[in-house]
Every structure is written in structure tokens, then in C-alpha cells.
């Protein structure tokens, strides 16, 4: 009987150790704000086509988003080495565009070092202190939460004039 108990001890220990492995990070590894597009007139979600988004100061003036199809939301990664990040929204950049119109959006923030979890690791949280933008097409930018975390939810609502040909 003692031998049987010892076998149970060893087997259960091995099983427990095997079952203790953890899953991966269920949230974003970094705090990346998710911006959602809304109509300034109807206050409803809209999809935009022919929109192009570039970061000001990005290496090689690289494009973050260039959409010929419709897009309803976009991740806007903040510069972790800076205290502000600016984006240029260009409308009507598609092949069927009539004229290019653009807006510049600037986020000012404070970076807060944060340890999320073993799997998600460490990153910055961003406490947005100020939002500035031009008003060619964008009418308003609303923050539902000024603290940007790695939780995958939209906290930035950008309102566009839907009378613009680029908006559908």
C-alpha cells in the first residue's frame, strides 16, 4: 500500500507541473491606442476608404495605413521615446481621388512604465494630456479614457465630416 501511495505521489506531481504552464498574453503586448471613426453628423461609426495615415517623423516617411477599401478603426502607436506623437490623415489618396485633403493630429502624453504580466511583459502606459488637430475633415476627437493601456479597447473616437467625398 505504501508503494501505491508513493506512485500516486510521483504521478500527481508530474501531472500538476505539466498543467501549470501558462497561456500567452491575451491583451496587447504594448499599450497601443485604438482609434475608431465616427460621423460628425450622425455620431455613428463609419467606414472610410481612400484614407492614408503617416506618422510625422517616421523613418522613410513610412505609411501606417493606406486603405483603398473601407476601414473603421486604426491602431496609432505612440513614440515611446518622445512625449508627443503626430499623425497625418490624408483623404482621397486613392486612385479615384479628386483632391488630397489632410489633417494632422497630435497627442501629447506622459509615459508611465508598467508591468502588465509575465506573458504580456513590461511596456509603457500613456496618459494623454492634450490632443490637437486640424479641422479640414476631422471635427472632433473624443477620449473615453485618457489612460492608454494594453487592453484592446477603443478609447479614441475621431469624428469626420461625412459630407466629404472620402467618407462613406
Amino acid at each position: 500500500m505504501a508503494l501505491k501511495f508513493r506512485h500516486i505521489l510521483l504521478s500527481a506531481t508530474a501531472l500538476l507541473y505539466a498543467s501549470c504552464s501558462t497561456d500567452g498574453c491575451l491583451d496587447n503586448g504594448s499599450a497601443i491606442p485604438l482609434a475608431t471613426f465616427y460621423s460628425a453628423e450622425t455620431r455613428a461609426k463609419i467606414s472610410l476608404s481612400g484614407i492614408e495615415i503617416r506618422g510625422l517623423g517616421a523613418p522613410n516617411d513610412s505609411v501606417l495605413l493606406s486603405s483603398f477599401g473601407s476601414v473603421q478603426e486604426v491602431y496609432l502607436p505612440m513614440r515611446s521615446t518622445q512625449q508627443s506623437t503626430s499623425w497625418r490623415f490624408t483623404y482621397g489618396s486613392g486612385a479615384t481621388s479628386e483632391a488630397e485633403v489632410s489633417d494632422i493630429v497630435t497627442f501629447e502624453y506622459t509615459s508611465i512604465p508598467y508591468f502588465a504580466s509575465e506573458e504580456c511583459g513590461a511596456s509603457y502606459r500613456y496618459k494623454i494630456t492634450n490632443v490637437g488637430h486640424t479641422t479640414n475633415v476631422i471635427t472632433e476627437i473624443e477620449l473615453t479614457d485618457s489612460l492608454i493601456t494594453n487592453i484592446d479597447i477603443s478609447t479614441i473616437h475621431i469624428y469626420f465630416r461625412t459630407g466629404n467625398p472620402a467618407a462613406q
Binding site: M1, A2, F5, R6, I8, L9, A12, T13, L16, Y17, S19, C20, T22, S30, G55, A58, P59, S62, L64, P77, R79, S80, T81, I112, P113, Y114, F115, A116, S117, E118, E119, G121, A122, S123, Y124
Partner: protein
């Protein structure tokens, strides 16, 4: 003639009335010991079911059930029955109130370190066995962590910190051989500790930038509750080995500005709801079991035989 008969009858009746009680009170009998009188008691009780059952018990194995009753088992037929006459003689708890004191060392974390775990030290605990059934315990331990994930993105450090656990277990085999126990219980644990995350590297592919920073040391206090179950087995002499698993849940934890801990001393990895322990135990026995020896069948029969003998062999006075 009829008158004479009547007179004689009256005289005889009066004589019997006055003579018989006196002679009865003085009557004495001498015992007669023969083969027949020796076996008479045996023959008369040959069909006595009480005696038959007593003899069967003498050839049976008995054990105590959960209610403290002696259950007899016939080794030939396998039948089981309860002797209601001995219930009052056997205590409900086979073991005394203060049965033993045990001291154990939990070496689960050191063992897991051999398999790559990079946190945990261990604990020592003391336990009091009440009736070999209720086993309150306290534990004090040390925890430590230095964790570098496979992504190499950071180093998590938690210096050596103490933790405490207090709880109680219930031994389901409380009236059985104390060499084995299967138990379940609850416990509360708490720890006050600090931690820091250093050498963090944060890449931003779009901006082609890598930020390097440290998260300053933070201090936290956490408490948790755990429900555990396990078993323990005697190895040799007073040495035992015990193993248990637990489901634990954090009850309270300090709010920290730069994120919560990855490791809590005594609790382990906060993302795991299950924990385990493996202990080497030294048991200090205090009192032996309460169980009293059951009366021998022969001793049950002796008074019966003796009574019969006294009746039969009353000396004449």
C-alpha cells in the same frame, strides 16, 4: 368408619401443614459430580445464539466505522455485522484529543527549480493532530524570484521575503491506520514583499525605436485563500512524506502604480490558480490510540459457566 377416615385425614393435614415448611428450610443437597453434570451446561447452551455469535466474533476481523462502531467481518463468509453490545465501550474517536505534533518542510519549489522554475524557496510548518481528525497548522516560509522570460524583454526580481499561512485540514481516515491520511482543508496566506522589473526593452517597429527603461521597486502586500487536498504516507519510523494540491485565489493586494507582481511569495505565479506542495514530515507522537481491547469471548463465557457451577455446586451447609 367414615368418621375415622375423616379424623385421620384432618390429623394428616395438620401434621403436613406444620411439618413441611420447617423441613423445606433445612433441606440440603450434596453435589453429585458426574460426566453428565459436567457437560450439562454445554449441552444446554449448545443452541444459544449469543454464545455462537461470541465464538464467531472470536474468529473474525473487526474494525471501527466512521461512527465509532465495531463492525465484525466473518473471514469465511464475508458477512459483516455490528455488535451493539460493545458500542458503549469503544470511544467515538479512536485517537486522543492531542494525538501528535508534526513538523514539515515543504520542498516543492526547490524540486521545481530543478525543472527550470525560477522562483520560490520553501517553508516549514507545524501541525497539531486532534483526534487524528482535525489538523490545524501554521507555516512560515521564504520566497524569492528572478525571472527572465523567453522573450528576454525584462528581468523580474523579487528579493527574499517572508510569507505566512494558517489553516486546518480534515483527515478522512481519522479512525484508521495513522500511517496514511487523506485530507482536505482551507488556509489563508499573506505576504509582504517588494519587486522590480529591470532591463526592459520596448520595440516599436513602426517608429523603428527601442526604449530601454526600468520599473522602480514597488512594495506590496497580498493575502489569499486556498482550498487544498492531499495525502500523506509514513515512510519510516516517525518520517512521513506528504503531497497536496490547492486552488488559491487572491483576496486582497496592494494597488501599485507600475503594475502588479508576477510572483507572490507563498502563492507563486499569480497567473496560476493551482499550486502544490511536497513535504517531508517528522511526527512527534504524544498519545497512543484510545481504543480499548475488546473483551475476550472466553471472559464473556466464564461468568455464565461460573453461575451454572455455583448453582449446581452449592455446598451444603
Amino acid at each position: 368408619m367414615r368418621r375415622r377416615i375423616l379424623i385421620i385425614s384432618i390429623i394428616t393435614l395438620l401434621t403436613a401443614t406444620f411439618m413441611v415448611p420447617e423441613s423445606t428450610g433445612r433441606r440440603r443437597m450434596n453435589p453429585v459430580t458426574t460426566a453428565a453434570t459436567t457437560t450439562q451446561a454445554i449441552n444446554e447452551t449448545a443452541t444459544d445464539t449469543a454464545r455462537i455469535n461470541a465464538k464467531r466474533r472470536a474468529q473474525s476481523i473487526s474494525y471501527l466505522d466512521n461512527n465509532g462502531r465495531t463492525v465484525y467481518r466473518d473471514t469465511i463468509t464475508g458477512d459483516e455485522w455490528i455488535d451493539s453490545t460493545v458500542i458503549a465501550r469503544v470511544p467515538k474517536m479512536e485517537f486522543p484529543l492531542l494525538e501528535s505534533v508534526s513538523v514539515g518542510v515543504n520542498i516543492f519549489d526547490p524540486l521545481m527549480r530543478l525543472f527550470g522554475q525560477d522562483y520560490g524557496v520553501g517553508d516549514i510548518w507545524g501541525e497539531v493532530s486532534l483526534h487524528n481528525r482535525y489538523k490545524p497548522f501554521v507555516a512560515i516560509g521564504l520566497g524569492y524570484a528572478r525571472h527572465r522570460p523567453s522573450s528576454d524583454q525584462y528581468i523580474y526580481r523579487s528579493p527574499l521575503s517572508m510569507y505566512f499561512r494558517i489553516g486546518a485540514n480534515y483527515n478522512f481516515l481519522f479512525n484508521s491506520n495513522p500511517a496514511y491520511s487523506v485530507f482536505a482543508g482551507v488556509a489563508y496566506g499573506c505576504s509582504s514583499f517588494s519587486y522590480s522589473v529591470t532591463d526592459v526593452s520596448l520595440n516599436s517597429p513602426y517608429w523603428d525605436e527601442t526604449a530601454h527603461f526600468d520599473i522602480p521597486r514597488q512594495h506590496a502586500t497580498a493575502g489569499w485563500i486556498e482550498v487544498q487536498a492531499g495525502l500523506r504516507v509514513k515512510v519510516v519510523g516517525p518520517l512521513y512524506a506528504g503531497w497536496s494540491v490547492c486552488y488559491h485565489n487572491i483576496l486582497h493586494q496592494s494597488k501599485t502604480k507600475h503594475g502588479g507582481p508576477f510572483y507572490i511569495p507563498g502563492y507563486g505565479n499569480v497567473s496560476n490558480s493551482f499550486g502544490a506542495s511536497f513535504s517531508l514530515i517528522y511526527k512527534f507522537g504524544i498519545k497512543s490510540p484510545n481504543k480499548t481491547a475488546l473483551p475476550d469471548v472466553d471472559s464473556i463465557e466464564t461468568p455464565l459457566t461460573g453461575a451454572a457451577s455455583e448453582t449446581d455446586n452449592t455446598p451444603e451447609q
